[in-house]
Structures are given as C-alpha cells and as structure tokens.
C-alpha cells in the first residue's frame, strides 16, 4: 500500500464516508501554519517532523528490539522524512475527524513499520511453497482428538490446489502459512499491500465457500 492512495478492493466493504468535523484549536493552528509560507511554514514543518520522528522511533522500538541503536535511528529518521513528505502532500485530505497529530502519526507509524519489516527480510529469500504445505497435508503430530483438525487442514490444503489460481495460492501460502510480511511480499512481487490483500481476501473467500459446499 502506498500511504498516498486510497482505493477499495472489489468485493469488499466500501470505505465509510464520514462528515467533515470542526478542528480542535491545536490542529487548526498547525494545519494553517503548514499551509502558509516563509518562516511560519518552515517552523511548522520542523515541529511536524519532530512529531513524526517521535512516532517513528516509537514504532521501531516496538517492532524490533534487536536493532542496533544507530541502525534503529537511521530507520526512524528515514521513516519520519518520508512521512513528512506524505503528510505535506496530503494535507487537503485531512478531514478533521481526529486530532491532526493522530492523523499525522499514522503516516510515520506506517513508514516505520514497513521499513522495519523490509529490513528484517532484506537478506532472506521467500520460503518455497511446497516445503510448508506438507504440514497442511497431514504432518501435524498430536493425539487422537487432533484428527478432526488434521482432516480440516487437509481439506483446506486440497482446496488450495483445486480452487485457487496459482497467484492466489502463492500469496496465501506466503502470507498465511510462511508468515512473510505483506509489505515484503508486495515489494518482491512489484505490487502493493492493498492489491495483495485483495488477492488474499478473494482466496480466503473461495476457500470458505468451497468448504461450506463440501462439508
């Protein structure tokens, strides 16, 4: 997903439309400063960048404690820089339905989260599908009472082969079985988070429908 686009996948619930609200004074002041020019604009950008950097550092610290301090700060700073550009590009999209800071924070959290996920997978190949599907085809150890669960997973594995397109199967296995982060898979497949989630959503719907028909 790009933080600068807003489209809704076909077959999914459409985006709710909310009324425009009155801004709180703090949001109004910062928003007006960001729409001005000269010193006022520069100061507002600096204030906004501080807020975004705080959010980005918060996200990096939450998501990856194994990062070296310097490395973490580089990622957080890059995320704040990218989020600042995204927020400035999209100022007119702010509807005043939350505080301006909350609206801006989400751009920094998104940029930081995506960068951390990609960083964690930067030297890793995507897992091979067939290696993991063995677990769904009956490789689950366990007592007698797990038989029903194993049968259900076996039905799902068979349905994945019979009702999904190769692309849907690949996306489902990568995201749901192998735990590949959606942003990493999007980058490797040269697509977007939104497009991949639509594929995942459609694959899941096909599987649920098939299981209902056959059970």
């Amino acid at each position: 997903m790009s933080a600068t686009t807003a489209t809704v996948g076909v077959g999914m619930r459409s985006s709710p439309v909310a009324p425009r609200a009155v801004l709180d004074p703090e949001s109004q002041e910062l928003l007006e400063a960001l729409k001005s020019s000269g010193r006022v604009y520069d100061d507002a950008c600096a204030r906004l960048h501080e807020l975004l950097l705080r959010a980005a550092r918060f996200e990096v610290a939450r998501r990856w404690r194994g990062l070296a301090a310097g490395e973490a700060d580089v990622i957080a700073t890059e995320a704040a820089d990218d989020a600042l550009l995204a927020v400035l590009r999209r100022l007119d999209d702010f509807r005043g339905l939350s505080k301006f800071t909350t609206w801006a924070y989400k751009f920094a959290l998104y940029e930081a989260a995506v960068k951390v996920r990609k960083h964690a997978w930067r030297d890793r190949e995507l897992p091979v599908e067939e290696d993991v599907l063995g677990a769904l085809h009956g490789g689950l150890p366990g007592p007698e009472e797990d038989v029903e669960m194993r049968e259900r997973l076996g039905m799902i594995a068979a349905a994945m082969d019979s009702v999904l397109t190769p692309h849907q199967r690949r996306v489902l296995v990568a995201l749901a079985v192998n735990g590949v982060p959606i942003d990493v898979l999007a980058e490797r497949l040269s697509t977007t988070r939104g497009a991949l989630y639509k594929t995942l959503h459609d694959a899941r719907a096909k599987l649920r429908s098939h299981l209902e028909e056959t059970s």
């Binding site: 807003a6 999914m12 709710p16 989260a113 689950l140 150890p141 079985v177 939104g194 959503h201």
Partner: protein, 74 residues
C-alpha cells in the same frame, strides 16, 4: 503443532468471515477509529468492517495497535 497454533493457522488461512474494508480504507480511517476506541466509544459502529480487517491483516493490526498505544501514551 499445538491446538492454538493450529487454530491460528486456520484463522490465517480462512480469514474473517464478516465483510471487511481493505488496507487503503483502513489506513484512511485509522486515526478516527483509534481516537473513538481510546475514548471508549463504539469505533466499529462508526467504521464498519475495520475490526474484521484487523483480524485478517497482521500489518494493519500492528499499525493500529501502535497508533492506539501512542495516543494513549500522550
């Protein structure tokens, strides 16, 4: 594989059955949604389909949890 792990795998494979919004719509509504949650209001009623999406999309779930934690931290 333990039962709860198997159930989680089933959940990841089949996803939420309820109608859900997509990742882009989730991003658009996230700030309003978490402020309503933080205020103890019915966020799901205001943004139908966002909660099922969070159940189906780990990435959006992480970003939701972080935004909520950040504004609660103040």
């Amino acid at each position: 594989m333990e039962d709860h792990n198997t159930n989680e795998l089933l959940g990841r494979l089949l996803g939420p059955a309820e109608p859900e919004i997509g990742c882009e719509a989730c991003f658009e509504e996230l700030d309003r949604y978490v402020e309503l949650e933080a205020a103890g209001e019915d966020a799901e009623a205001a943004v139908p389909g966002l909660l099922p999406h969070l159940e189906g999309c780990p990435a959006c779930r992480e970003e939701h949890d972080s935004l909520l934690a950040l504004i609660r931290k103040g």
